[in-house]
């Protein structure tokens, strides 16, 4: 039983990381329809921003989070202004363009900061473990679970309750009509893209205590993020949350029953089946386009 509960917690913890990485993509890909292959690199830039702030200014990652968010959001804004905005009417070309941006960012970091993996200290107040019976839970992972849910709540509020969200949803439904009502669609898109990038950056900063910070760290994450968004249903926030939970727990359970390698394969197979029978994902977007 303890083994099962420990594993369930591991799954939840994986889900929280997936959720944070995928949330930014849920907006950029889900809402705006841009297939952003540079998303993993935004995560990587977030991790490097956290490293910079910690090494040169002595800021812990929790304190640095808002700054990291702004730094990566700025990069996102530049990418949107410089590249993506020209491609909204050619969505497939965004694949190639953002892939190029990804390679560029990766090599830039490698050339400027160096290829070696960097060390970022975790927050010391979250060291240690919470032990309940036979279940051992790392405090930092518990924090990540709650933090990711908080970010979802904030994003939901931004999209559904704020004026910006209303404008964004209007632009997504019909760009031309929205512009007739005085909404500056290009500005709304820029800000939404920057927000998605900022979220990715924050996710990158938060996973630094668990992984190794290298220029290539984003490559693995972007695949998982796309899986989560597609399983959840493009454009659905709730779907992203549910899919992250599902993929995280499925990975944990399969790897308990078999091992991590086969567990991973099993999860991918399960996703293929799911997409076969529910091509629009778990919670398809019901908006007419």
């Amino acid at each position: 039983m303890d083994a099962f509960l420990n594993q369930a917690f591991a799954g939840l913890s994986m889900a929280s990381i997936l959720l944070m990485v995928a949330l930014g993509l849920a907006i950029i890909y889900g809402a705006m329809g841009v297939i952003n292959l540079a998303h993993g690199e935004f995560v990587m830039l977030g991790a490097y921003s956290a490293w910079l702030l910690q090494t040169y200014l002595g800021l812990g990652i929790l304190v640095a989070l808002p700054v990291v968010f702004l730094m990566v959001a700025l990069v996102g804004l530049l990418v949107e202004r410089g590249v993506v905005r020209w491609l909204y009417h050619r969505p497939l070309d965004t694949i190639l363009a953002t892939w190029g941006v990804a390679i560029l960012l990766q090599q830039l970091v490698r050339s400027v900061i160096g290829p070696e993996s960097r060390y970022v200290a975790g927050p010391s107040i979250l060291d240690g473990n919470l032990v309940l019976g036979g279940v051992v839970m790392s405090n930092y992972r518990i924090f990540l679970i709650f933090f990711s849910l908080a970010v979802v709540a904030a994003t939901w509020f931004l999209l559904k309750r704020s004026e910006f969200g209303t404008k964004l949803r209007a632009v997504i439904q019909n760009k031309e009509i929205s512009e007739c009502y005085g909404i500056r669609a290009d500005r709304v898109y820029s800000l939404a893209f920057a927000y998605g990038a900022g979220l990715a950056g924050m996710a990158g900063a938060l996973i630094t205590p668990l992984v190794s910070v290298t220029p290539t760290m984003g490559t693995y994450l972007v695949v998982d993020a796309f899986l989560v968004v597609i399983v959840g249903g493009v454009g659905s926030l709730l779907g992203t949350v549910a899919a992250a939970g599902l993929v995280g727990e499925a990975t944990a359970m399969f790897s308990m029953l078999m091992n991590d390698t086969i567990g991973r394969i099993a999860v991918l197979l399960a996703i293929i089946f799911l997409i076969r029978f529910k091509p629009m994902g778990l919670f398809p977007d019901k908006v007419r386009r």
Binding site: N6, F9, S13, P115, S117, S212, T214, D260
Partner: protein, 411 residues
């Protein structure tokens, strides 16, 4: 153009080719070393996934070349490095190696970190009978006459390490590695030793390359309750595993991680606190006390920055250039060919930072294995030093096969 003119043109061009480029017919035109220069290839990735490590090997090899040139070269000739960036892609390694050997006329190529890239280069250097100097520890089970192996093979890393671990911590091992050939071969050797001395592998598992979430593995470690974690994870996976293992609150005195692949580079990335108290086995550690090593570390940090570390692969990348130099010095300048260099290198000894090493006739290197314990500063303290130089036996785990001076022999 008329057909007759065309044929005439082809004939003229062909004749010009025969006369103008006799090298096409005679295979070798000029001597290998000419114009006061000895061309050597440097084939380490500066971009892509393995650039993290290979950059340091590139730096170490170039530093050795520079030192040799500053001290008058070899026979008054300078080493001229031809640098290629194979971009972490095995097929590109083969392509660039071909370029170095054919176009640039290199007498030797220094390169590769991964086995995949070495094996991609193998047909090129074997086909042209050139020499490839490979600095990395690897899984053994290879016996090419065209590769100079500078790193440890399994018996050199494990034959003292595993019994020592069993004696000090107990015989129940949890084997974890990335899913490719190196960890599997090393674990075979480990299980073989455990069988002989009465230990057991309680669990053996492999995770995909780049795997970064180890919560399931850590849960399994809790359940199986082993005495030692025998770890052959590499690079980012090793860093992620150790950070998460440390955060999960295990005590290194009760359950140490014993790694074959963890060097100063990985420890720097995971932080000294996470690595402190755990063990690595390798022929070289940056903190090893010897005058040669003090000189090496000092020169390296002066050249590349005081925050840089040297490690067991960059040491080999460095000393292999000196092995090359020592071999070429024995040759008459007109005799400098890859095969003569190989013949001159066999049996040669050299004071490397790790101690006095010897090139075996099977082209692997006799090394000084050490076991070291990491401390919070990110350095390793050597706790067990081999009493004698250990001979390389790349087919140690394979009864009936031996790598000798004539290549692989089946007994």
């Amino acid at each position: 153009m008329k057909r007759r003119d065309f044929l005439k043109g082809v004939a003229v061009a062909g004749a010009a080719g025969v006369v103008g480029f006799p090298g096409i017919w005679t295979q070798r035109k000029a001597a290998w070393a000419a114009n006061g220069e000895i061309p050597v290839g440097i084939l380490f990735s500066l971009t892509g996934a393995v650039a993290v490590v290979e950059r340091t090997l590139h730096d170490a090899a170039l530093m050795a070349i520079e030192e040799i040139n500053d001290n008058g070269g070899i026979h008054g000739m300078r080493l001229r490095p031809f640098i290629e960036d194979p971009a972490s892609d095995p097929a590109t390694y083969a392509d660039r190696a071909r370029r170095l050997v054919l176009r640039d006329n290199c007498v030797s190529v220094f390169g590769s970190y991964t086995s995949a890239s070495r094996q991609a280069v193998l047909p090129v250097v074997e086909g042209r009978d050139n020499l490839y100097w490979y600095p990395t520890l690897y899984e053994g089970r290879e016996c090419s006459r065209n590769v100079m192996y500078g790193g440890a093979v399994p018996n050199q890393q494990q034959q003292e390490f595993v019994p020592w671990l069993v004696e000090n911590f107990g015989g129940r091992f949890y084997l974890i590695g990335n899913n490719y050939v190196y960890p599997r071969e090393e674990n075979n050797v480990c299980k073989m030793i455990l069988d002989q001395i009465g230990g057991e592998a309680v669990h053996e598992e492999y995770v995909p390359m780049g795997h970064s979430d180890f919560s399931s593995v850590i849960n399994r470690i809790r359940q199986t309750n082993p005495d030692v974690i025998f770890c052959t994870l590499v690079g980012d996976s090793d860093v992620a595993f150790q950070r998460q293992f440390h955060a999960a609150g295990f005590d290194p005195e009760q359950l140490p991680v014993a790694s074959l692949t963890r060097s100063e580079v990985e420890v720097k990335a995971m932080g000294g606190a996470a690595a402190a108290g755990h063990f690595s086995s390798a022929p070289y550690f940056m903190a090893h006390a010897s005058p040669e090593n003090a000189r090496f570390v000092e020169a390296y940090q002066r050249k590349y920055g005081s925050d840089q570390v040297t490690h067991f692969v960059s040491e080999a990348a460095y000393f292999q250039v000196y092995q090359f130099k020592a071999a070429v010095e024995q040759l008459d300048p007109s005799d400098i060919t890859p095969t003569n260099i190989r013949a001159a290198a066999v049996g040669q000894t050299l004071m490397a930072p790790q101690g006095e090493i010897l090139i075996d006739e099977n082209l692997h290197t006799h090394l000084w294995p050490k076991v070291a314990q990491w401390d919070r500063s990110g350095q390793a303290k050597v706790v067990l030093e081999s009493q004698e130089r250990i001979a390389p036996e790349p087919y140690w785990a394979y009864e009936g096969q031996r790598c000798t001076g004539e290549g692989l022999v089946t007994l």
